[in-house]
Amino acid sequence: MTAAPAPAPDTTAAAATGPLSGAATAVAAQRWSRRAGRARRATVAVLIWVASLTAAGAACEAAARLAPSGFVPPPSMVAAWIRATWLTGPPHHLYLNEDLLHHLGASVGRMLTGWTAAVILGISLGILLGRSPVARDFVNPLVQFGRSVPPVVLIPVYYLLFPDATIRHVVLIVTGAIWPVLLNTITGVRGIDPALLDTVRVLKVGPVRRLGGVLLPAAAPTILTGLRISLAIALLLTVVSEMFGATEGLGYALLDAQQHFDTTAMWAWIVPIAVLGNLGHAALNGLSRAGLARHGHPDPHQLER
């Protein structure tokens, strides 16, 4: 937000004895150079990112060729497999083939359904617990217990409880992904200055606007951090859950390839999972930064990436 159209500082105003356009040009030039600086930094960051990935890929390629193993194909072979198998679809499917889209769609659908449910439940419950000390006292032991249970241990339990595979996957995702949202919402709501809540009450702001206009936006930066963590958990649980009793999804396809000793395909299935994780992380990171910038955080770009 540093690029906000700040009024010219006093020195500029004092110097503007000549034609006005001179001062305006100076300000514009300053703004341009600031923008150029940011663009340069972004370019360098992307170059470093590409260089780092290329170096790692080259190292793997060299290792796989120098010490050949049936289980670890060179990355170029996996890339060739991906091109020959998946990139065969029509243009309106982004050139992706039916098989990949089918499993990808199943996984993304489950992940987003479970994550969205976890977010809605977590935020609602979090606001309730954040605002009510009594409710917090009662529920806190349960929360502490629940979040300490690794969600994957529930897979055998859910296997018995939910015969429908999709419901089972989604419930598992919700069970694991709800905790960071819940705990961060509680922290965010409790961190709001009581003086702000007093002021808002005295202004006679109604409960709906108090929730949507004060509580949620004030806690938003903290809640967004919770959303980011919970999305990573949602992806993890999607893939793991699909390895048990599923007939579709990225986790199923990955395990299926391994069980058919198709090691190249097995490695290839890791790629869409990684891309999915990175996309989700990047999207929520952007959202987090935008949120912090709105709150006047001095430098939201310093966030861990």
Partner: protein
């Protein structure tokens, strides 16, 4: 317009013996257009009293009456300015939007709302800062936004809780004069809490002194200084000096009495 009658408040604790009797038998009457400053030692229940008047806290004893109506919840037409003003502004809204936020519940027509926001901004000298966010402003300017938000509501009663306690001395003097001017222009009724005796005498039409807890009002002094106050000449006025000395002495003696009383009966507890 505002009457506090034998107001008392006890903060209950789980251990009954640790109950804290903050206020006991507070009596205070304010008429419309009056600025009353409430001073007292720290921890004497100044903020408790203010929150009770704002309807944010239900006192355990006594009554509060505002314009003939007993205060049981947050009353209409009250505005509050807090000490930690920076935390009471919404950082994601611009200055204009922050002030307008307080007007929405009053269901005014849009044009009237806009006009009131502009007038309030002009009154605090921030006419050009409407598009900025609170974090782009200095501490003194943020407090002016908080004042503007309060006066835009045209409150019948303005409550201020140590409003200038966390700004530097020069800004503080400016804001004191700003409040005096706004109070007179809008003929506002103001109840201002402060721990600064000079500030209380400088601003108030009356100064009410709260004793140490369990607090009651131990003195209610009219301030007969000229209505036009000036940071330099008013403060060197012998009458001002005499008044501030009197208030300071009242606070000190009440504190000493409380200490000897407590020393004589160390087991003494509030309730």
């Amino acid at each position: 317009m505002l009457t506090l009658d034998t107001l008392a408040h006890t903060y209950r604790s789980r251990d009954r013996r640790r109950d804290h009797l903050a206020l006991d038998g507070v009596k205070l009457t304010m008429s419309a257009g009056e600025m009353v400053c409430l001073v007292g030692p720290s921890g004497c229940g100044k903020t408790t009293l203010l929150r009770a008047v704002a309807g944010l806290l239900r006192p355990t004893g006594g009554t509060i009456t505002l314009d003939g109506q007993p205060v049981t919840g947050v009353p209409d037409g009250v505005a509050m300015i807090a000490q930690n003003y920076a935390n009471t502004l919404l950082p994601w809204r611009t200055t204009t939007a922050n002030i307008a936020f307080g007007l929405r519940p009053q269901h005014l027509p849009r044009a009237e709302r806009r006009e009131r926001v502009a007038a309030a901004l002009a009154a605090v000298g921030l006419a050009d800062a409407g598009h900025k966010h609170p974090w782009q402003l200095s501490g003194g300017m943020q407090q002016r936004v908080a004042i503007a938000r309060a006066i835009a509501c045209r409150p019948r009663l303005l409550l201020a809780d140590e409003p200038f306690a966390s700004v530097d001395a020069q800004t503080r003097a400016d804001l004191e004069d700003l409040l005096l001017r706004v109070q007179r222009e809008h003929h506002m009724t103001v109840l201002l809490v402060t721990h600064d005796i000079d500030e209380a005498v400088y601003l108030g039409h009356r100064v009410a002194v709260l004793g140490p807890p369990p607090s009651s009002i131990i003195a209610d002094l009219p301030i007969d200084l000229p209505a036009d106050r000036d940071q330099i000449s008013t403060r060197e006025n012998p009458q001002f000096v005499a008044l501030r000395t009197e208030v300071a002495r009242l606070i000190r003696t009440s504190g000493q009495e409380a200490t000897t009383r407590n020393a004589a009966a160390p087991q003494r507890t509030g309730a």
